[in-house]
């Protein structure tokens, strides 16, 4: 069984277009077990009940941005080992360095292609 058949991923993005594009790209990669949340707090609630292998989260979200979500995940024993990819249109050095300090596994800069997403995911979890 290929990894893409068993891996469970959660997409976190407040904008439905961006969220839809991420989920479409995952579908194109053959990844079928995909859940989503429209904000960080909803993601935390869902992940506490049903942990996934990998979270792909937008950076720019109201109330709880991607880095705050990452911090919350790492501080919770249930979710601390979940892989985390930050998606951002602003690949500022400060954001990336903060993410790395908090335990971010990789980041994906928008706009991205499906192939770029594949490479980004494979760098974290291995060959799909």
């Amino acid at each position: 069984m290929a990894l893409r058949d068993s891996i469970r991923i959660m997409v976190v993005d407040d904008m439905s277009t961006s969220r839809g594009l991420l989920m479409q790209a995952l579908d194109e990669l053959g990844i079928r077990q995909v859940d989503y949340a429209a904000d960080g707090r909803n993601a935390l609630t869902k992940l506490a009940a049903n942990p996934v292998h990998l979270v792909i989260s937008d950076y720019n979200m109201p109330q709880m941005d991607g880095l705050h979500l990452l911090k919350a995940l790492r501080e919770n024993r249930t979710t601390s080992r979940i892989g985390f990819i930050l998606v951002t249109g602003r690949a500022d050095r400060e954001i990336i360095e903060t993410g790395q300090r908090l335990g971010m596994n990789n980041f994906l800069r928008k706009p991205f292609s499906t192939q770029q997403m594949r490479a980004c995911i494979q760098a974290v979890v291995g060959a799909l």
Partner: protein, 142 residues
Amino acid sequence: MTGNETGAELAPIIGGLAKVLHSAHAAGCEVEECYGDLIRDIPSSTLSEAGQAARTAGHPGPCAGLQELDRLVQVLDNLARFVAALAPEIPAGLRVETASAREEILLRDLAACLLSPAAAEPAFRPAGPARAAEAEDGVHLF
């Protein structure tokens, strides 16, 4: 700054600009939500094929275009917040000459919004009853 009484106070103009940017961001969000609904119903293979066809024709493709739309909306949000935070910092009485700038504004409503005293109101108001007031002041340009 002209040092005389011509032109207009800068603070209300910046306040009005913040409101217009906020409205543009809200409109962008609505457009994004519409596309989000559409995307969910399109098979990924169809989007992929459309993207390949577009790239062959020298265009970025629908997915790249929609990601640019998302980026644009985020930029509008950041800009609206920045300008709204800047407005209260502008000293009272600071004036700028607006005649030449007004000639460049082709949208009459936009000009009125930027230069009216009402534009000095905060750009971000609570949801609910305040929205009715917002609809009456002619800010909805987009």
